[in-house]
């Protein structure tokens, strides 16, 4: 039977013996006669041989198995250890080859060496190679659902840690730095490979799995106040501000300085009090909202040719950089430099120490995130018979539905590691056995299942059930309430619509949207609905004759219609400003929106 052969998706010819043909191509590849980036796949359903050499295929390395024996031998391993050969040499020798998704369909890959039979074509280099760098950092990942592994690895990317050793001379936007990060007790091989100890991102803490007066509801965690005072989760938040001396046409330019009182838009003397002679704050100044950190003035915006040389041009415009609403911190670092265009550039880095507070987000490495529900004084925390108080209490309700058994295994592993003073290996598919950990824990004088007798911290009563308590590596995530908290009663409005501004940065309102409006209507709460939508209400005069919005002259306290003159009757009505805007738009379209007024009573 003829089998069609395709190269990079293009038909090139026929073969009579497809399996043999595909095997031949592979043999040539292993010999190095053709490029090792070529992959062959024999599709039996459509009777085609597909050879691919193009880009964009995800490929992974595997050890070639020949006649039931892996090509990689002890000799190779020894040579590798002595640095006599490299990875590339193994690929060139055909010991290791890369397979794409299509060729994998033709292969039988053994999971480990003991499994290899004559039918196998390849051997997994290591089970860890199946997962990526961050995913490999999840301990005991073979004891959890794949979806949770993904969440767990994504969480680690958001953790607050020691992100760069030269942080002190960097001007990163919006970064957090943990003060006392630690290396995890329960680690994986990837922690060694990636030198995790050089940039750790969490801390080993004592975790109890129990509830605490309802403050663990909906995944919330309870934190020991004493632990925070001892430095748990403490971090610094850096945020730089910058100002540039821009050049404008006509030789005018911005100027970094303490603004004069004549400057248009001058704030108040109090706001500029922290500026030094050069118009920039001094380092270590404590700054609060509205405080100016870089004083700057700009030339006036629009210059007519006549004004350009007149006295009026001396009136400059205020354009300082000030702290926004709700911001505060300490000036950490001031940098004076030049940018690519040669303009003077001022950068000021603000620093703020962030202690864990209610609403901050914490997580273990198993996709078990939660926000702080309450911070409990150390004296009120439950304690074990040994006097150990947990740093964090985690709700047991988080476990059954998510099935993150790894979370529990890590807790036991962490306990063993902490008690015996060693690291525990939790590498995926190659970890220390749970049974061994249990035995070791028992030999250390604890219950092999990790539970302990616990007493109520407030009453001193012994708790009825034993509590699962041990050590875990916990991460503080960068989502902190301090950056998100927001409320508004009155505040800025938009110029066009007279409705409240949007977003936290602009101190905006929280929108009561269309569907939320519907709930008011469904309840028949007509009065309440009107009140809620009163944010842009206005009183406008309307001409009774032509039905168009009239004019109110506050000086003469007279209302008159611009089209009908003063003889027509004009009455005030209360409408949403947005509706007045819509009427204006109709007029712009050439449509005459006539309002017919009728007495409400």
């Amino acid at each position: 039977m003829h089998t069609e052969v395709f190269l990079n998706g293009k038909f090139v010819g026929f073969t009579d013996d497809a399996p043999h043909y595909a095997q031949q191509v592979r043999a040539e590849r292993r010999k190095g006669a053709i490029s090792n980036s070529v992959n062959v796949h024999h599709d039996k359903d459509s009777n085609q041989v597909l050879i691919e050499a193009g880009r964009g295929r995800a490929r992974r390395p595997l050890i070639v198995v020949k006649d039931g024996m892996p090509m990689l031998t002890d000799k190779h391993v020894k040579q590798l250890q002595k640095n006599e050969i490299t990875w590339t040499d193994l690929v060139e020798q055909g010991v290791i080859e890369y397979l794409d998704a299509a060729e994998e369909e033709d292969c039988l890959v053994a999971f480990d060496e003991a499994e290899v039979t004559h039918e196998h074509t390849h051997l997994e280099i290591s089970p860890v190679a199946m997962v990526g760098l961050v995913t490999a950092l999840v301990p005991y990942a073979n004891h959890m659902a794949s979806s949770r592994i993904i969440i767990g690895s994504k969480n680690q990317k958001q953790s607050v840690g020691f992100y760069a050793a030269n942080f002190n001379v960097r001007m990163d936007m919006d970064v957090n730095l943990m003060h006392t990060p630690q290396k995890p007790i329960v680690n994986t091989i990837m922690h060694d490979i990636a030198h995790y100890e050089k940039h750790p991102a969490g801390q080993n803490i004592v975790v109890a799995i129990m509830s605490f007066r309802g403050y663990t509801i909906e995944d919330a965690v309870v934190i020991n106040e004493g632990s925070i005072q001892r430095g748990f989760g403490r971090s610094t938040y850096f945020r730089p501000a910058q100002a540039e001396e821009l050049r404008y046409s006509g030789g005018l330019m911005d100027e970094v300085s303490v603004p004069d009182k004549e400057v248009k838009g001058y704030k108040s003397e109090k706001d500029y009090r922290l500026l030094e002679g050069d118009g920039i704050v001094y380092p270590e100044a404590k700054v609060h909202e509205d405080d100016v950190i870089i004083g700057k003035t700009s030339p006036p915006r629009f210059l007519s040719s006549l004004e350009e040389y007149s006295l009026a041009s001396n009136i400059r415009r205020e354009s300082s950089v000030a702290l926004r609403h709700g911001e505060e911190g300490v000036v950490d670092f001031v940098l004076l430099t030049e940018n690519e265009e040669g303009n003077k550039l001022v950068q000021v880095r603000l620093r703020e120490t962030r202690m864990p507070e209610i609403g901050d987000k914490f997580t273990s490495r198993h996709g078990q995130k939660g926000v702080v529900g309450i911070i409990v004084p150390e004296a009120d925390m439950p304690f074990t018979a040994n006097g150990i108080k947990p740093d964090l209490i985690f709700s047991a309700h988080g476990i059954p539905s998510r099935m993150t058994i790894s979370h529990l295994v890590e807790l036991v592993g962490g306990k063993v590691g902490a008690l015996s003073g060693r690291y525990v290996d939790g590498t995926i598919f190659a970890s220390e056995k749970e049974d061994d950990l249990r035995k070791e824990l028992a030999s250390l004088g604890f219950h092999e299942n990790g539970t302990e007798r616990v007493y109520n911290g407030e009453t001193g009563e012994m708790m009825q059930s034993k509590i699962f308590i041990g050590n875990m590596y916990y991460l503080r995530l960068k989502h902190m309430v301090a950056n998100k908290i927001h409320s508004r009663a009155r505040g800025p409005i938009q110029l066009l619509t007279r409705q409240p501004t949007e977003g936290r940065a602009k101190e905006g309102g929280l929108r009561l949207g269309e569907m939320e409006k519907d709930t008011f209507v469904a309840h028949g709460a007509s009065m309440l609905l009107k009140e809620r939508f009163d944010s842009d209400k206005t009183v406008v005069p309307v001409c009774e004759e032509c039905g168009i919005i009239a004019i109110h002259d506050p000086y003469k306290n007279k209302r008159y219609c611009p089209t009908c003159g003063d003889h027509s009757e004009v009455n005030d009505i209360e409408i949403a400003y947005a509706f007045k805007l819509m009427l204006d738009e109709f007029k712009a379209m050439g449509i005459y929106p006539k309002l017919v007024l009728r007495s409400k009573y």
Binding site: K517, D518, T519, V521, A522, H523, G524, A525, S526, M527, L529, K530, F533, D534, D536, K537, E574, I575, A576, A578, F579, M582, F586, M589, I591, Y592, V596
Partner: protein
């Protein structure tokens, strides 16, 4: 009717009174009827209740939980029905062409017992000529197609060469159909046949010509349901199916609402809307109160034909310009209203929200009517 029930006549629906009389022992009749009346009054909707909006919310909220599942018939290939949200949208939009039309054909007595059910079903199915042909051979010399028929299959289907020839003649306008011996010969009418390609095209077309069955019904599946055999079909043609003498016309249905409207009228279409929506919500395990759906179905059918909840359907019938403009295509509605000088009396909800006035619903609805007494001077 009992004396105790007599006084509730007109206050309670007759059907309810009958049910009470039938099911309730005479001694307790008075108490029961009083209780029923109390409950009935409580269940009534108050004036000013936003029934439409509550219906919309009550259908919309569980709608978010619906999956895009299609329902599969076990064992039969390629027979699936649109269910879930897409089906709901299809019904409420009042589409003329639905994505998976389907019929449930009930049969009259001897036929629904299962004997020869397959033959009955096959008789309904629309079958292309290709299924009765042994071979279509292209005769290059004479530039014609020789069609050799499969006599055996035709016999079981009750077809003769004459019927097939007639159907082919009807289906292939641009070809001459002749019978020679047992074969049918197809020849293109136009004199200057340019090449084989045209013959190929003719052959493909001939394969697809329907020679038998009811138009539109592409698949049939006999199923046993509650002790009798019925036929489920893919594709629908209610009018033609009801004409068949072995079909139970009272129970046979289709899921094509527009077809029901044309064959049986609006009331049937309204009931069909209710049934079809119920079918979806039941399959999804949702619990939507029947009365919400009734309100929607009533609105759709109020004009005497089925109108969808779209800008061309129900919404276009709203009297308020601003209400129409706030739904979809505002500029079109505003411009059209301006051309005829429409007046908006601000009688409904959306308009008043736009103006920030009290919405005439709930607390905003009642007004105080009072007579002013003029002071005598």
């Amino acid at each position: 009717m009992h004396k105790e029930l007599e006084e509730y006549k007109g206050k309670l629906p007759d059907k309810l009174l009958e049910e009470i009389e039938e099911k309730c022992p005479a001694g307790k009749l008075k108490k029961v009827v009083a209780k029923v009346y109390e409950e009935y009054e409580q269940a009534r909707v108050d004036p000013g209740e936003a029934v439409g909006l509550v219906a919309a919310e009550s259908i919309g909220e569980p709608g978010t939980q619906m999956t895009l599942n299609t329902f599969h018939f076990a064992g039969v290939a390629e027979m699936n029905v649109t269910m879930g949200l897409p089906r709901i949208i299809e019904i409420l939009d009042g589409r003329k062409e639905i994505s998976t039309p389907m019929m449930e054909i009930y049969l009259k007595k001897p036929y629904n017992q299962g004997d020869g059910i397959k033959d009955v079903a096959e008789a309904i199915r629309q079958t292309p000529a290709g299924e009765f042909v042994e071979e279509f051979s292209i005769n290059v010399v004479d530039m014609q197609i020789d069609v050799r028929l499969n006599k055996e299959r035709m016999k079981t289907a009750g077809l003769t060469t004459a019927i097939v020839t007639k159907q082919l003649e009807k289906g292939l306008r641009d070809a001459n159909v002749k019978v020679k011996d047992d074969d049918i010969i197809l020849k293109l009418k136009s004199k200057d046949v340019k090449g084989l390609n045209e013959l190929y095209a003719l052959r493909e077309k001939a394969k697809g010509v329907y020679v038998k069955g009811i138009k539109g019904i592409t698949q049939v599946l006999p199923v046993k349901r509650k002790g009798e055999f019925i036929i489920i079909t893919a594709g629908s043609n209610l009018e033609k199916v009801l004409e068949l003498d072995f079909v139970d016309t009272e129970r046979t249905t289709t899921n094509d609402i527009n077809e029901i409207l044309n064959v049986l009228g609006v009331e049937a279409a309204r009931t069909s809307i209710l049934n079809e929506i119920d079918k979806v919500t039941e399959a999804q395990g949702l619990n939507i109160d029947h009365r919400h759906i009734m309100l929607v179905a009533d609105t759709m059918c109020a004009s005497g034909c089925v109108k969808g909840i779209t800008r061309y359907g129900v919404v276009s019938e709203k009297s308020s310009v601003l209400a129409r403009a706030s739904f979809e295509t505002p500029i079109k509605h505003i411009v059209d209203a301006a051309l005829v000088g429409e007046v908006d009396y601000l009688n409904s909800v959306v308009e008043n929200v736009m103006l920030n006035q009290y919405v005439p619903i709930g607390t905003g609805l009642p007004g105080l009517v009072t007579r002013q007494i003029k002071k005598k001077e």
